[in-house]
Amino acid sequence: MAPRSARAGAAGSGERELLVEADVARTIARMAHQIIEKTALDAPDAPHVVLLGIPTRGAPLARRLSAKIAEFTGVTIPTGTVDVTLYRDDLRRRPARPLEPTSLPAGGLDDALVVLVDDVLFSGRTVRAALDALRDHGRPAAVQLAVLIDRGHRELPIRADYVGKNVPTARSEEVSVRLAELDGADAVLLRRPDPRSSDTADPVGDGPSGDEAAGDTR
């Protein structure tokens, strides 16, 4: 995995800050409200909702959404993580990736309303892998998708139920979500390829079907 800069916040040359810290907090709060509204998780006959983050950055996002939902409704929604590495369809296009933890809530996923949480929605291949992984872990009643950023360029018929921000991007650009838990501060950056550098080509030559964020974020 490519080492990531721990510097968050201030955008460097060729980088544009799409969201600053306060924007990220507001966006997550809004997404939490949307999840409450759409799932009716605080109603008397509420469904059994589970927030499952896709590592790396989907995991802290799921925990933050759960905390916000608890703050707004008093209802504690269980969270977990589901690693999709073993289910990816691009494993043979890049060096073997380290596996990330999978931890499911104690009650499992059977008959739950599972909300998958990820940082960036791009080609949709990570989500496809996550759906395959879920199938091996149980039979949720329904699966929804929450993403902080939808940058377009879908390669599969997949859409998000909850979107923090839609960002039109060029394929060659890179969206980088930074979260305090992992990167020291919250920010979302858009990096334009440096026309003088030779690394503007897709590292795996397959467009977005590499990592969703086109940077090696997991």
């Binding site: 073993l86 289910y87 296009r93 073997a96 596996l99 091996d136």
Partner: protein, 309 residues
């Protein structure tokens, strides 16, 4: 990682990556009714065993199948080897037939390295599942994983490796790996069952098992390899058991936290007493279970990464 031929080819980072992947795989499969991952769909693993094996062969087969690889076992007795085909021709045949990975066990030390050289142009990965008295890297890795689960970080731990070191590829791989992970190794054996160059190994050597047992964090027993012995290495089996067998009295000398490992097959009454083998201190079945996850990790690192150009 192109091949896994020897622990000597790994650095600490690569070794830990394999152990971490094995732990994650175990966690991923825990409690599942259907133990099947799609990761290696469309990949073909061939096991070729020129020596008998139960654990290693079965665990490689299960490891491949749990990751959806097609696994083919070549039974040497029923293969063209019986007609006089050389190892090289067998290897080239397997590559031509479409194998992505060849898992080989052979009585000659260095056979796996040879095979990897012959297959260098084919992109086929070679895994050494034991070559003569040289190495058995996946056994050492699963032993380290078993120890790590019980003891945590192995750095600074002291591990006794006891018995027929001379003929043991398991001992060689374990000395390399444990040392790589920061543990200290003490070899305990009669002088006749130690290799001549042991003085240059990064280990302590002792001939007195009772004196060592009180000061170690784990003990690894080795099988007495009668099939490789063509001389009088010790007078009688009884005398060996008295000097170097792990019986109940010796188990009581071990610190309470120290587990007992054995690569199998165990010769009960020879190097390990039956009560010890069946006690909770013996992690033999843990080793076998870890062997599957560890070999899944090896196949993942060899076959799930970038395709060879």
């Amino acid at each position: 990682m192109r091949h896994l031929l020897s622990i000597a080819d790994l650095d600490a980072q690569a070794a830990n990556a394999l152990l971490d992947t094995a732990d994650r795989l175990e966690q991923t499969l825990l409690g599942r009714q259907v133990r099947k991952l799609p990761t290696l769909r469309g990949r073909t693993v061939v096991t070729v065993f020129y020596e008998n094996s139960t654990r290693t062969r079965v665990s490689f087969e299960i490891a491949g199948k749990w990751m959806s690889a097609d696994v083919i076992n070549v039974s040497i007795g029923a293969s063209s080897v019986g007609k006089g085909e050389s190892l090289r021709d067998t290897a080239l045949t397997l590559a031509a037939a479409g194998a992505d990975c060849v898992v080989v066990r052979h009585p000659a030390s260095g056979a796996a390295h040879r095979l990897a050289r012959w297959l260098a142009d084919t992109g086929v990965a070679v895994v050494n599942a034991g070559d003569g008295t040289h190495e058995h890297p996946t056994q050492a890795l699963l032993d380290a994983q078993t120890l790590r689960q019980r003891l945590g970080d192995l750095a600074g731990r002291r591990v006794a490796v006891v018995g027929d070191v001379l003929h043991s590829r398991v001992a060689r791989s374990n000395v390399l790996l444990l040392t790589l992970l920061g543990a200290r190794v003490v070899l305990v054996a009669p002088p006749t069952l130690l290799p001549s160059g042991v003085g240059s190994w990064p280990v302590e050597v002792s001939h007195d098992l009772d004196a060592v047992l009180g000061g170690v964090d784990a003990v690894m027993m080795l099988r007495v390899q009668a099939e490789r012995m063509h001389g009088g290495f010790f007078p009688t089996a009884r005398e060996y058991a008295v000097g170097y067998g792990l019986n109940q009295r010796r188990l009581d000398l071990l610190p309470e936290h120290a587990p007992v490992l054995h690569p199998g097959p165990m010769l009960r009454g020879m190097e390990i007493g039956s009560t010890v083998a069946d006690s909770e201190r013996a992690l033999v079945t843990d080793q076998v279970r870890n062997g599957v996850h560890l070999r899944m990790a090896v196949l993942y690192h060899l076959l799930a990464g970038e395709e060879a150009e």
